[in-house]
Symmetry: C2
Subunit: 377 residues, 2 copies
Amino acid sequence: MQAAVSRADLKRFVDLATSTPTLLLDLGIVEKDYRTLEAALPGAGIFYALKANPHPEIARLLQTLGCGFEVSSLGELKLLLDLAVEGERIISSNPVKSPEFIRKAYAAGVRHFAFDSAAELDKIAELAPEAELAVRLSVPNDSSEWPLDKKFGVDIEAAVHLLADARDRGLRPHGLIFHVGSQCRDVAGWITALEKAKLLWDEAARAGVELHLLNVGGGIPVAYSRNDVPFPAAIGDAIIETRARLFPSEVETYLEPGRGVVGRAGTMVCSVIGVADREDGRWVYLDAGIFHGLAEAMGGISYRFLSLAEGAEEPCTVAGPSCDSVDVVARDVMLPRVRVGDRIVIPACGAYTTAYSSEFNGFSGPDTKIVPSVRNV
Amino acid sequence: MQAAVSRADLKRFVDLATSTPTLLLDLGIVEKDYRTLEAALPGAGIFYALKANPHPEIARLLQTLGCGFEVSSLGELKLLLDLAVEGERIISSNPVKSPEFIRKAYAAGVRHFAFDSAAELDKIAELAPEAELAVRLSVPNDSSEWPLDKKFGVDIEAAVHLLADARDRGLRPHGLIFHVGSQCRDVAGWITALEKAKLLWDEAARAGVELHLLNVGGGIPVAYSRNDVPFPAAIGDAIIETRARLFPSEVETYLEPGRGVVGRAGTMVCSVIGVADREDGRWVYLDAGIFHGLAEAMGGISYRFLSLAEGAEEPCTVAGPSCDSVDVVARDVMLPRVRVGDRIVIPACGAYTTAYSSEFNGFSGPDTKIVPSVRNV
């Protein structure tokens, strides 16, 4: 699944990036990967998790393709409304939302929200009483590189209690949502989660709350420097088979991919701003780093670093431009002897790069440049 | 050193923050803490590390007080030049700088740069040949909460070699710089560093390079939820005594405080956007978090969280507004039963808060509001 990058590809990327750091964005790959997910889970509602990359051209494209959107904030909502996305194609799966966001989203026609606390039901009862609600179920995140199970989600008993509470208040408990964690490396993550979801489904029915919707969240992985991630088709098959085994045939299914839609579509081009031979080996300093586009390196994402330089490769530590010693991106990266001014190309940077970027230390994060889609990847 | 915050203070902060999250900035405290540092290390050149908080009003005030500035990037340089700060009052202590930055800084009159590699000397020889140079010496960072010793700095032997290399190229090796790490909790950090600096000083002299400048970096701590940090006066005394014991009387001294100048001057006011009673206890969700102003919580800074709510306190987990499970700010924070819409006041937020903030997930970081200085802290 990890795309081979030829020397000609590298040269093309370097030439396209007239300044650095730049994120080259190939909308043809966004379209292709969106369609792959559509085909992997036919009939599912797909809601792009806008946080992965909120570039308006991505949203505009996905809108024309019929994709929905998952948002959490007034900023994300405004971006979509400015593009005239209809509220009914927007959902919010953040279980804890500000009252102002709920009010404005509901006014814009958003009718689907996640929750996992009684306090959230208080807000929804007041501000969005007709919305369909999905309770966030906690599931194991063992298979993912960026686990999401520490902050949200309740266990089965609490979930049933919350669903019954919603019903008793006259609200509309409609389904459940789980998240296997971002960059999930094993289809077993979804199977285990669906098995737990089935227990909740049945317990809720026994408590008199009939559910209709399974939101299987995101987690679709992208190949970085390791190659062993499952294809979307394999994930889709696992979900389809498990769903058929455990749930009624008419169950509605939502999918909320972020990385799985835009991860492969972005290629970062950076410049080498310094090199140093230190006691622990060679260091290569780039004009992008932890605070400026490569934050996920802190969380275990192992990017590939490619160079047009020639000669023998050696293990290097790759660091960012800031004064902060946290700003170390990767260790034991094999690189030829690069020099100040050389370009470094980092594939699969479409997701959670520009989105996490700050202006710390006076450095700008990568600019985004839409490039012609010429690669058939 | 941790300031007591009365109920009247809290009420005043809450009233001043007409929206949230907001960083209330008290320039009177900036001035007071700058003067405290001036008094702690008389005769030293003080260069404010702009990365701690690049708000222009801070720079403008420090400029009028006679303070210099330490910068790393074109963005920071531009901010100062827009305020008509003279280049000679600006230094750059980032040992690895982009060629474009060196060129523009030199053109603006900046004449002092740090370095710790031969590749940096290549750049300086070409772009800033008349600048005074300080070699970055690695020193132990055991006493600091945000260590800075992993990315920059060389040991004595390599430092001497680099200083001699600079001299042989006709450049101007002038001094040394070390950094004990940010938020350094023990004056021993500076003493140990100065003792190591003395070894380099003497070794350099034996190699025919006479040094003139000791840049003791930053690291001046601020009291967060723990109270046991040394006063600036104690740090100054330790530096003065150790310097007198080890270095010639005419040695020039630079100090580069960031947190020590602006940390206490900022007070963050947030809103509670959600609460949840989970299996592991109570959670309180704020409209500021790891990606939006409180990033240093990840690195061990333990903020205080204060509320006007009444009643018994209980241990809470405090989290930010985003969907990301990394966005958990603190655990076991004692808080009364706060409700959605209540305000939370976080003292000592002037440094490394807005500076690290991103717009991840569509949330804006805290706005900064300059407030009248009425507190004598």
